[in-house]
Symmetry: C2
Subunit: 556 residues, 2 copies
């Protein structure tokens, strides 16, 4: 009897649910989640951009809606990763630093940088800033005119401002500072302008520079013999993306960029330490170990991409590793204690190398690269100067042991030219053009870091330059150059949700929680290298205009 | 027995609904609504801004969410009313005209105006455009540099462009054109620059000017005796807000603005036809009747506010009326066949007049106005130059016979000065300052048009300069200068819903429907006279940045 009533009740409920258009699955009350902040770039020192939050998940994501929008009053590209600390959200544009109420989007304070009129002319690949770092009561950021700025966290007032270098000769800064063992570490941009790369360590209290490490070895330094003459002094090796820090090992890992000029015949030799990872002590900048991805790199294959830390079993042995999806098309796994190369596999279409020699750690250059080097004739190389993956950060899911990355699928024609250096002007010495021969110019890929293999991929005709975020809810968040903010199924790559944000997305999504509710935040605002150099006419209909978005589940 | 099961079932359902957080009331499947477009300014020739759509209503509005956003790539104020015609949405900014897919927010085409560098300097009250008019296969709009532009509706390509007047002497155009009996009618702005107001009628095909009607009577014209000497020739009477058109009577109703300079002692007399409504034949501009609200107006009380048409029973007699919430603080109802004044009652705090003499139709000036006129001493006058209501259009609910308007609640100090005219420079001849002595500087009011009485009001410390929209769903939509797009209960004024749109709202909401679903669209982007002149520091934290929003009910 009880059973009978119960089943009739169930049927009635089912009917009711159907009639009201209210599906139980979607409307299951979402469990409250613990308060979760985003205190660093990469959502943790490991830069995994993984969240354990599950309120927004494969089932509920269809109820994800905007909860507020905030105009960034800026038509440039928005690449900044927001932070959420002690109930306040912080975000940067190339000229503003903004504190907001994360629940309402209301501005708390705004600091504006007053740039010299000529600043924007010497930034290669877009007028952007990638975000702030926060330590104690201060926020640290870099500026396009190569200064480091410390702002009071409560008021936004300037505490100190230091010039890293004279920007007029081709330097700029867009990098998020890294806080490591009480030191503020910053890199620089300008690898296309005949600059010399470096990293600086700053005292957070006073702004005093504690150390500088150049990334190209001067003639009288160890490694100086890998450069002809004084070519190292304008040899590139920029440090324009933020490294990671392992507090247990007290090691900072920082990638370095391309050699300058691109034409590598002008700088015969390995050119230490371009296109490398440097493992350093944060207090001093002392170099503990390094690994060079692309010795004498001719192809603008910066090694700056984010170095994600994880604990992985590699060939049966647990390892503390760092991994990088390199511009050169290979996915590297290194032992982060020793720098030992553990894995290096292609993760995109590439033809410049046969592979990586696991004994020497050096790429085995392909016939086509050898031909170019021997003859200076025009060749078609994959991936292009923008790489198999550009700066947009991948995320790592420690449960699925899988990386989610927006990858690029186009090549370029390449012919080396005679270089001529002039301060503040492009210094490439290469005749080049992109080769867009495939319909899908990019793929969001789930990549096995140990094999480089793609578990699933989602193609896009216009490649995405958005960072990714993954959650224990089984979702990967990403954004499209045409403005759609998107959620994909972590296991299948199926697109489960999207929302049109007004401009193109080239930002870094984060997720956080407050008062039991999970939020996702992303900046929208088209810009960056692809827009500048691709000539992709399909982007002509995507309007400029920066704004910050926060989403949560519809709360009814 | 049956009863018993049923009640257990009900209880179980109730429990289930409670547990799942799924309230039946909210989840009732929304009824599909018929396709509804927005083909004109004011959502119909009557300018009532009323919609019969009921899908979004008092019960469902809490499930209203953004469906897309589109960046207008413009940091100026966004006052434009979008149109939705034949499945395409059209919107303007001061420099762009944009066609979009209304369901996705994807740009179809965009036309940009290339302004002379000096244009922005001679616009008194904000760099804006209020929207386009569409007729056949052409879109018509005005430009800041006083041109009328016809664009091809399908491609956005320019069909013709005509100069209305040389903008350099203080003229500008922000007005939405009016299409009436096959004529494109445009007004002008510049009442603060010693201009002479006019209306133009244009041939939509060729751009040929068919007629011009000046709004100040030259010395040799009828009404010329209401101006001393040649003062009419720089006497103001601008026509910067769009009139309405009754096709049955073939009459266009158009309001005229303030006299120039503001100091009225310089132009003793009634100053026909400033601060008036003109009823004209659209084919010729012939004046059929007129009514002057504020003869010899000294207070910048433009009579330009929207003239809403309705059929109302007035004192027991059905009337075709037009109504206006005038800047001067009085709500006017006129017979639109004859121009007979039917009602004129104060709808806000005012002290410049005792009332309106219903026999003569003239205001009875108060002692304080008489004192100012007699002595030229400083007085405190309510409302201020921005009026009891500024340009932001009210809406009229024909079921409730109620008007919903954002009204202003502040005064000004006023002292007439000796005028001196210089082309392209403010020509006011008044020493003035706003008086913000009340905490609520504005009210959203439900006003009975026949009595001017307030049925309900919602105060706001920062006054709203948003248009309103009302629906048969019992909702009034409006926006806040701080960015919240809001829905109020038409019967009580209770705020039922809001969403933060990123910048301040000074736009004109519309609602429309496609494929059974009701949408609401509004532009966000702070700007306008209050921001420019109020010195309200609370707006310093509202970022600039224009974008277009479309909302609908969460569809789960």
């Amino acid at each position: 009897m009880k059973f009978s009533i119960a089943s009739r009740v169930s049927a009635a409920i089912a009917a009711m649910v159907f009639l009201t258009g209210c599906e139980q699955k979607d409307q299951t009350p979402v469990a409250a989640v613990p308060d979760t902040e985003v205190r660093t770039l990469g959502m943790g020192q490991h830069l995994q951009r993984h969240s354990t939050l599950t309120q927004i998940n494969k089932d509920t994501v269809k109820r994800l809606v905007p909860v507020w929008n905030y105009s960034l009053s800026d038509k440039r590209g928005q690449e900044s990763q927001p932070l959420v600390i002690d109930g306040v959200m912080y975000v940067t544009t190339h000229k503003s630093t903004i504190a907001l109420n994360p629940l309402t989007g209301k501005q708390v304070w705004k600091h504006e940088i007053d740039y010299p009129p000529q600043t924007p002319r010497i930034v290669c690949c877009g007028i952007v800033n990638r975000g702030a770092a926060i330590d104690g009561n201060k926020l640290f950021r870099t500026t396009l005119d190569a200064h480091v700025l410390a702002l009071d966290l409560e008021t936004g007032k300037e505490v100190w401002k230091k010039e890293a270098i004279d920007f007029k000769t081709g330097y700029s800064m867009t990098v998020t500072p890294l806080i490591a063992n009480g030191v503020v570490i910053t890199g620089m941009s300008g690898g296309e302008y005949g600059t010399r790369g470096f990293l600086d360590g700053w005292d957070p209290e006073t702004g005093e520079r504690l150390w500088r490490r150049y990334t190209t070895a001067a003639p009288d330094e160890p490694g100086g013999d890998t450069w002809p003459g004084d070519t190292a002094m304008a040899g590139g090796g920029p440090t324009w993306l933020t490294g990671s820090y392992d507090p247990e090992l007290d090691l900072v890992y920082w990638g370095t960029g391309n050699g300058g000029p691109w034409n590598a015949e002008f700088r015969k030799g390995d050119n230490l330490y371009i296109t490398s990872v440097l493992a350093m002590r944060p207090k001093t900048g002392e170099l503990i170990w390094y690994y060079q991805f692309s010795p004498n790199d001719p192809y603008d294959y910066d090694g700056v991409n984010e170095l994600v830390m994880a604990e992985l079993e590699v060939d049966g042995k647990p390892r503390k590793i760092i991994m990088q999806a390199n511009r050169n098309g290979f996915f590297y796994v290194l032992d982060r204690e020793t720098g030992e190369l553990l894995k290096a596999n292609a993760f995109v279409r590439q033809n410049w190398a046969e592979g990586i020699d696991m004994k020497t750690g050096r790429p085995i250059e392909s016939e086509i690269t050898k031909h170019m080097r021997a003859t200076s004739e025009k060749v078609e190389i994959w991936p292009s100067a923008l790489g198999g993956k550009n700066w947009m950060p991948m995320s790592y899911d420690p449960e699925r042991k899988m990386v989610f990355a927006n990858t690029l699928n186009f090549g370029w024609t390449y012919k080396p030219l005679q270089p001529s250096y002039r301060a503040g002007v492009f210094y490439m010495a290469v005749d080049w053009a992109f080769v867009f021969s495939e319909e899908q110019r990019g793929y969001l890929k789930a990549i096995d870091p140990l094999t480089g293999e793609t578990k699933w991929q989602q193609g896009s005709k216009i490649p995405s330059f958005s960072g990714t975020l993954n959650t224990a809810g089984g979702l990967v968040f990403s954004g499209a150059m045409t403005g759609e903010f998107q959620a994909f199924d972590s296991d299948t790559g199926d697109k489960l949700w999207e929302f049109q944000t007004g401009s193109g997305i080239i930002g870094q999504p984060i997720t956080w929680a407050k008062d039991g509710r999970q939020y996702v935040t992303i900046a929208s605002g088209i810009g960056g290298a692809y827009v500048l150099f691709s000539g992709d006419e399909r982007l002509a209909s995507v309007p400029a205009g920066g704004s910050l978005w926060t989403f949560a589940l519809m709360d009814d």
